[in-house]
């Protein structure tokens, strides 16, 4: 991480732990996310990925440890505070209203309106179109007026990512965005993720698919039984090495220095 020492991280976790009863779901996690970086968080089911992102997005308060956002320590961490500080989370249900248009979903709860709530539809449509182009919707069959129910799974994920991007999220957390998608659709989603980074956001990508992680991530963090057991720059390792590493070292449960 020496090459990043000059830039301040967007998010930093120091010795963060979270337990449910006697069980540690996340233990002594140290994690930094830098601007314009895709960090993939990989690990098997039960590795603590979900708990960790719920801590980051403010759903769970950590039992121990400190959370810093842009160098500033945060207290009373909550979902509202996380969002206010530019951290958007896209959960697996994607929080889309399926019978509504793409545009309505993009602006849900944050409609651009004048006096008495008169919607600035022309303005919204133009912004939605620009955003969709930026994130890589190239099909002319998908417009801001398309109903979400008519889109493919990958496209829906794209709408959810676009919505997070639109509100200038500094950090977008994606919870298993490629799960249950066909190969083409998963690839499409990974492209959306790259676009979001190129657009200026950092991304934490949660996945248990090592190949997906390897394809887009700048850095890969391996989580096992609540602990970080490995952390690699993508350029420093091949996908095969990564899998071998996960199969051997990670499952021994031995942290790597």
């Amino acid at each position: 991480m020496s090459e990043r020492a000059d830039t301040a991280p967007i998010l930093e976790l120091r010795d963060v732990s979270k337990s449910f009863g006697a069980v540690y779901a996340v233990r002594d996690v140290n994690l930094r996310v830098y601007p314009r970086e895709i960090v993939a968080l990989v690990g098997d089911n039960g590795a603590g990925k979900s708990t960790l992102i719920k801590v980051i997005s403010g759903v769970h308060a950590p039992d121990h440890g400190e959370v810093y956002v842009k160098g500033e320590r945060v207290h009373n961490w909550s979902t509202a505070q996380a969002r206010r500080r530019g951290i958007e989370t896209v959960y697996q249900d994607k929080a889309l209203a399926e019978q509504q248009t793409v545009m309505r979903n993009l602006f849900m709860g944050r409609e651009e309106a004048g006096p008495f709530g008169w919607l600035r539809l022309g303005h919204q449509r133009a912004e939605a179109e620009a955003l969709m182009r930026r994130i890589g919707f190239t099909s002319r069959l998908v417009s801001p007026d398309s109903v979400v129910a008519t889109l493919s799974g990958g496209e829906r994920e794209g709408v959810a990512i676009a919505r997070a991007m639109f509100f200038r999220a500094d950090l977008i957390i994606l919870d298993e965005p490629t799960q249950a998608l066909s190969l083409t659709q998963a690839r499409e989603v990974l492209r959306f993720v790259e676009r979001a980074r190129d657009d200026g956001s950092s991304v934490i990508l949660i996945t248990h698919n090592v190949y997906h992680a390897y394809e887009v991530a700048d850095r890969i963090v391996i989580l096992d039984r609540g602990q970080i057991v490995g952390e690699f720059q993508r350029t420093a390792i091949t996908a095969v090495q990564l899998i071998e590493y996960m199969q051997t070292v990670a499952h021994e449960g031995a942290p790597v220095n």
């Binding site: 209203a97 849900m108 409609e111 919607l119 190239t138 099909s139 002319r140 496209e155 659709q185 499409e188």
Partner: protein, 343 residues
């Protein structure tokens, strides 16, 4: 399935084929289209059965006298149903506001003040209904069923079951402005249409309509994205209250008479109008223009049956036929429909 991952494929860059604008509108608004088609077919049947009656304008003038009340109520009800709830209490709210108006004018008050207070009473009653559903989390089906009895019971207690003649209002400005005639045209039809236009704008062009649809479509998502779900639902019920307030004043002015059961007759016909108009029961989507068409359809059945020379015994049967057939029509024109409702 359209892939958007690989730009440049021929199918992706071809623009959708050009269409007749009317066809395109109907494709986007299937529910409205099928409601309209149903109305046209029904009137064609009426006209064949008794051309003498349905080709003369007088029959429409008769239909238009009370149609505006159904339109106003049905338009407002679309908001509650799209928000994923139901309101069965509006008939009694019609009665409450009619009672408030009657109390003001029969104690010598200015009828315009009576109108304003009736509208306020309607909104307040609507807020009560909405509070039970949105903030106490009661089932809207059961809570508003209960409130319908409760408001009606209050009216009966206050009035001891008595009506009140209102013929003395016939010469007032209020009467002329709200329910007078311009030639053969009952003025209330203009108010009904204006209210429907207001409804369309509110539904499609204002933040309120957009949030109502999002709440009814996916309540959890709406909450997650920062919409005040409870307030949106409460507002939808309050809007029905406002509509019921206006409908209450119109109803007793048209009849020249306050009667304690005013509004009761609208319960099933207005609900039918909303669904015949194409708004589904599951929330998230609906059509205001369709509900106007639905009100017209339902409001014409009785006239049509009588004009066709059948006895009044056929009325209920044909109501049933029309409602069920129109639901089947909507089901067939909605290929990707969800099935069933939520309340």
């Amino acid at each position: 399935m359209v892939s958007i991952a690989q730009p440049g494929r021929a199918t992706e860059t071809t623009a959708p084929p050009r269409q007749n604008p009317l066809l395109r509108y109907l494709r986007r608004h299937r529910e409205f289209g099928s409601a309209l088609a149903f109305l046209v077919v029904m009137f064609a049947a009426f006209a064949i059965a008794s051309p003498g009656v349905f080709l003369r304008p007088q029959i429409y003038s008769a239909i238009f006298i009370s149609l505006p009340i159904s339109i106003i109520l049905a338009v407002s009800l679309v908001f509650v149903i799209v928000a994923g709830e139901i309101d069965l209490a509006f008939p009694s709210v019609v009665g409450v506001s009619a009672l408030v108006f009657t109390t003001v004018v029969s104690t010598g008050g200015n009828p315009w003040i009576g109108l304003v207070l009736a509208l306020i009473a309607g909104v307040l009653a609507g807020v009560c209904n909405g509070f039970l559903v949105a903030y106490l989390g009661l089932s809207s089906l059961v809570a508003t069923l209960g409130m319908n009895f409760l408001w009606r019971g209050l009216i009966q207690i206050v009035r001891q079951g008595n009506g009140a003649p209102l013929t003395f209002l016939n010469k007032t400005d209020l009467y002329q402005v709200l329910v007078g005639h311009i030639g053969w045209l009952p003025v209330q039809l203009i108010w009904g249409i204006l209210f429907a236009v207001l409804g369309v704008l509110l539904f499609t062009r204002f933040r309120f309509g957009s949030q109502v649809a999002c709440v009814g479509d996916n309540m959890e998502a709406a909450r997650e994205m920062g919409i005040n779900v409870k307030l949106v639902k409460l507002s939808a019920f309050a809007f029905v209250g406002l509509a019921a307030g206006l409908a209450g004043v119109l109803a007793i002015l048209i009849n020249n008479n306050f009667y304690p059961t005013v509004g009761d007759g609208y319960l099933l016909s207005v609900l039918a109008a909303v669904f015949v108009g194409g708004t589904p029961t599951w929330g998230g989507v609906g059509t205001i223009a369709g509900s106007v068409v639905g009100a017209f359809t339902v409001g014409s059945i009785e006239t049509g049956i009588v004009a066709a020379g059948l006895t009044g015994y056929f009325t209920q049967f044909f109501y049933g036929v029309v409602i069920v057939l129109s639901l089947v029509t909507h089901r067939l024109t909605r290929p990707r429909a969800k099935v069933g409702g939520r309340w």
